[in-house]
Symmetry: none
Subunit: 306 residues, 3 copies
């Protein structure tokens, strides 16, 4: 971990960790999906399950990322990724993150065609059954999320401190070649890193302290984003508890100039941040000021218990 | 702003700011030029007007870059870009930069063809007239600059301290994929960042203190630079006052190996730097030692009042 | 491997591979040197043995880098690093590189103090003896190289094609935070990547074709380079055979502005490049034109058979 991977207080950005996780997931699932006799393909990230940041990583530590395929359906792969931080001076190791990702293999010849996934062998029958259950659940959740996706973030003139409008932020990025896979669309990890960056700015603007990513709710990748697109990543505070803040982040893509397609919602997710003192202790979060009845609903209400 | 965006004293490099400005300008002008019914195109930077760095930006601050189209001629677009630095911990905001950029839309099918720009609507008639005047002025200045452009920086053997030869520096860069637009030529912002890097090294070698960019004179982009080219960016001190240094910077391009074209001058500009103490106060600059009559002329003499 | 890691023909730069090798070496040797009861330290690269690039790596392939400690003396560690490229679409794997690196552990409290290395266990007695022999040899070679190190590359006015002066090149780099270890000096891998970049530009200028790194001769790191330094990396053609080119590369460091130290030679090495056709076949190399008696000696003559 290098200085550029971390914030001013030396804590590695959640987005840097998410990017590494996705890189490991993309490698293992692309390798698996090409291990059969089917046509060549590249695995595209479809969804990341809710994940917690269990302990912070610091500049100078070494990240150990390991990945394993835990379930395959006909057209998708579930990957479990574990991240450990290692202080190579003291030898101390800590689990920083466990994440579950879903990938879909797209044909190298036709980017719109999903190819078949070679099945894996399960050590025990229950593993397959449990995997199938997780598969059904995520499928349902993805469908629901897509329907909620019409929302946009409008600028607010002269917002009061601690209102939604006060901290909402957005960032525009032009998708370059090194952001992309061999098929010419953006790596999921690149998108997640930018999303975490926006969420971090929203959180810091709201509470004006050192902040770190505590968890990320399920992230659904609805649509691919092609090289040359301009993406707008927008974030706003949706809920505060005494100890944490929930920030909703959208990614909207404007396709490159010679494509007929209109702007579309590509990804959306909820990030949870905590505020830290200089000594690394959790600080209370200023409450979100809700004006009138137009207040956004906390994500946790929308979807039952988090 | 990350550690790598800044010098050792924590001040963000002028080149990093110029690169962001150009990115915003390229996005808004490409978007505008594709809003009509004309053929798909990408906006290429033709010129940046003289711009001042009003206050320094620091690591950890958030840069807010906003861009607006202020004039369109048949084949060019004027963009006004404002940069604010925001300390998200204190909420303090400062204007750091205002810049005016000119773009020319190039056809996606034929990179040598300039396409027509859809006109914008002006709120008041005077805006259009003032814009036209700025357009004529920059056109004239670009023409003049091109004629002055034969100069090269020759190496000096064993130069004395504070002479031109002592601090002159050059840098070679191999143009990679991420430096380029979808049309395969270098983003203007990438070139400006490298130019600022060379100018900063010249200034630091001359005065051996912490230095920061104070302003950049008009930058003209005479020729496109293609992916795979090797570019040589050369800088030399041309003038010192008590409080500042003026450095001339050239960009020369050697086309990729299998192209018939010879080395050509692609860009040239003058950068002004100031020297700072550790506490951030302006220091006096050692005077430039001029040997004989071969001394370069200060740019301000060449062109009347700066 | 991403587009930015490769040249226009899609071959990954030798420098990118060297940087990964060094990263692996630095992690394993820092971890080992802190495994005993001694004081905390960071391993600094002292030397890389001659290494061949056995087969090219391409964009989209996954690099597998593995490292092992093969010998320890009282104050140094020998690390063997192997690099394999894996095409995750076809499953094909190839050994691309085997390298031997020597590290020296520097105290975290006092960067000028070399700490003691915990001994490793050898499976067989001969391994230790062979390691000791390699240790003595590299020690001798390092000493010799240091003495040859006064040379500088002087600029040539109007050089003829295929002379040394025609293709010689140099590159300036300002050392930023992300280039550095926890002790605040440059990672060896960052330096090697820049050296390969300069050597590649010299080779391309000489033969004006697609070129790739074939091998790197022993690289000795004589002195540390601190954060904030400006480094000048210079390269010149020293020898051509029918099929390859040998390029000498120097790294000179100018310490940060407020340090009393003068410019010093930090690293030097010889790189060998081959020229490739578009189909990837080796092309004959234009012979180096030697003017008068001041011609540089081929490195292979200086030091016996290559």
């Amino acid at each position: 971990m290098r200085p550029d991977d971390a914030n001013v207080a030396g804590n590695v950005h959640g987005g840097t960790v998410l990017k590494m996780i996705e890189e490991a997931g993309a490698i293992i699932s692309t390798r698996h999906c090409n291990s059969g006799t089917g046509e060549p393909c590249v695995a595209a990230l479809a969804r990341v399950e809710r994940t917690d940041f269990l302990s912070p990583m610091c500049i100078g530590e070494v990240a150990n990322v390991s990945a394993e395929i835990t379930y395959t359906s006909k057209h998708s792969v579930e990957v479990q990724v574990n991240v450990m931080s290692e202080n190579i001076l003291t030898g101390a190791k800590k689990v920083t993150n466990k994440a579950t990702l879903w990938y879909v293999p797209l044909s190298l010849k036709n980017v719109n065609k999903v190819v078949e996934v070679p099945p894996i062998q399960y050590a025990r029958k229950e593993q397959e059954d449990e995997g199938r259950k997780r598969y059904e659940e995520q499928k349902l959740d993805r469908l629901e999320t897509k329907q909620r996706n019409g929302d946009v973030i409008m600028p607010v003139i002269n917002p009061e401190p601690h209102t939604v409008g006060y901290s909402q932020s957005s960032l525009i990025h032009l998708v370059g070649p090194s952001d992309c896979t061999l098929l010419g669309f953006v790596h999921g990890g690149v998108t997640m890193k930018l999303m975490d960056e926006v969420a971090g700015i929203v959180a810091a603007r709201h509470c004006k302290t050192n902040i770190v990513t505590a968890s990320v709710d399920a992230i659904n990748f609805h649509e691919k984003i092609k090289k040359g697109s301009v993406i707008t990543i927008s974030g706003r505070m949706t809920f505060t508890s005494n100890k944490s803040m929930e920030i909703e982040v959208f990614v909207d893509a404007d396709p490159f100039v010679d494509e007929p397609q209109e702007r579309y919602r590509a990804v959306s997710a909820f990030f949870t941040y905590v505020s830290l003192s200089k000594e690394g202790k959790t600080l209370p979060v200023p409450q979100l000021l809700v004006l009138g009845s137009a207040a956004p609903q906390p994500a946790s209400m929308d979807r039952g218990a988090p």
